[in-house]
Symmetry: C2
Amino acid sequence: MTVGTRLLRADDMVALFREVGRDALMDLMIEELRRTFRDHRHEDVEARTRDGFQYTKPDLGLLEWMPTHEIGGPVVVKMVGYHPTNPVQRGLPSVIATSSLWDTTTGELLAIADATLLTAVRTGAASGLATDVLAVDAPVEVGVVGLGAQAVTQLHAISRVREITRVRAHDDAPEAAETFADRIAFLGLDVEIVGTGGLRSLVAESDVLVTCTSVDIGAGPVVPAEPGRPWLHVNAVGADFAGKIELPREMLERATVFPDSRPQCIAEGECQQLAPEAIGPELVEVIKAEADHRRYRDERTVFDSTGWAVEDDVALRLALRLAEQHDLGSSIQIECVPSDPRDPYSFASTPDAAAPRRP
Amino acid sequence: MTVGTRLLRADDMVALFREVGRDALMDLMIEELRRTFRDHRHEDVEARTRDGFQYTKPDLGLLEWMPTHEIGGPVVVKMVGYHPTNPVQRGLPSVIATSSLWDTTTGELLAIADATLLTAVRTGAASGLATDVLAVDAPVEVGVVGLGAQAVTQLHAISRVREITRVRAHDDAPEAAETFADRIAFLGLDVEIVGTGGLRSLVAESDVLVTCTSVDIGAGPVVPAEPGRPWLHVNAVGADFAGKIELPREMLERATVFPDSRPQCIAEGECQQLAPEAIGPELVEVIKAEADHRRYRDERTVFDSTGWAVEDDVALRLALRLAEQHDLGSSIQIECVPSDPRDPYSFASTPDAAAPRRP
């Protein structure tokens, strides 16, 4: 039984983060993704390819919806904006998002929550899971290209599944490069910032490489076509527009490429560069096939992460469960439910009809 | 400058309704639609055809999104559920909805509001506008088939654009038929309830006919193939599923059929029954072409109303404007905006970072 809509505001999310703890929240997200992927059956969940409005006025940006429907269960819709000029021009993150949960018995809005923090954490967690399954099973040297908000949660997530012995990092924007060490100080790692001239050795000497840039459409790739170590694992995270790519085609062709969502990665991920038959299995399939993990860890692999709606479903439900455990969030009655379902004006004669229906 | 998200909850909508007044709200909605349609240019507004999840478990229902984007301006997304078993099984309206407004400069959620009441009012208002433009310019006899929530706002809207001299009404469900007169008592009209046997004369003796039923897919039409008066205007409102129709094909073929949204009406409206070349202009085109109105009023016309996303955009913006005028609604900070846009965890060291950003 619901009482209106559960609301997780910004301050609830901050309190949740503090009470659960940063590392525990990341660990929980990785394990929830692992469990959900292991049990996932495509026939049980309708996960729509991201769709929405893309525009160049007033600036380049997009607002998109990412809906999932668990057959016989609820619908989750994440609305996500990507506005790459936000950090420099407005002091806002480039990715801002909100998620909502809907009852398919009645159509009621069950919950609405910030998904800005959740998106950062779940995008990290998806790479953490991919790294755990696909990267070499040993302490790793990590290279990071693109040092915005995503870089923080990417490195955090990797640190939860592998010991990190070295971090080398690059961003074209000095203000991003200069502040990165401070932003990941909580990880207790030394960070070496490299310039454009150091990108080739950054790739060559990484066990795990992360690309999470705001590179312009048509301006990629962001790293040179360097083969790297025979077991190099790459998390390619920054793609979200048709025409936006981060990795050289040669790097993809030398590796097995695992999309998060095959149709979405073909539309806007690194898989744009590959013939369909050259694309490997989806990450969700690999998680199920544990026998294959050992082999992939010793080979070149790429996780093509465009952000799969199922991950947002997992993130929202985890946040709602944790909020309930920690007594966080509030309830509001948004929908104007009349006292007589056949009379939209029936509150007119019964003043309290629009108060929460089920006290 | 925004401060978080404007929120119009159920009690705000009720207060708005009371302060503005029922008739004034309907009149404002009709005039806002008329003005918006008159100024509408398809190249300035991306109005997506409704899309979403349709299901038969746990019951027949759907949850859909109706997005619009004013180029260079905001995005509006209405989420709407249609669950026809709601009134009888759960005491809830079959249509429950929420609308949201988004900033395309930053991606921020500017407003969220109940759209359950607004949907009922705007659906009535669209028929009111169509009736004003397409129905005979004289006092009218009105027939209504389907006496749920929509019937109330349909008749209300028609009463704002024409003098109603007689109402004859039909519903297969006795509990809907028996309560209808009470639900429209505010209109001060006599209502004659007719049984299935009276449907033919109901159609034959109407100047304006409204169909707004929850007829099952494949079970329509809901009225007999009776030609009716040579100037009969029909508002066909109940269609929302592929395969769901209310009018006999013969009635459509004898009339000019005006879709609200041509692609949407072809997918799920009465236009499903027509070849593309047999479909008339969209209502929005007719509103622009005032010279044609006189001719249409003396001819048989059908407004195929599936609910156009632009109408929801108009409804939300009108409600927000009126709420501001009447000092209704509140502001909440849902999105967790970090103090450093490149550090999703930056609230961790600055406790108030997630409080409203722009005081």
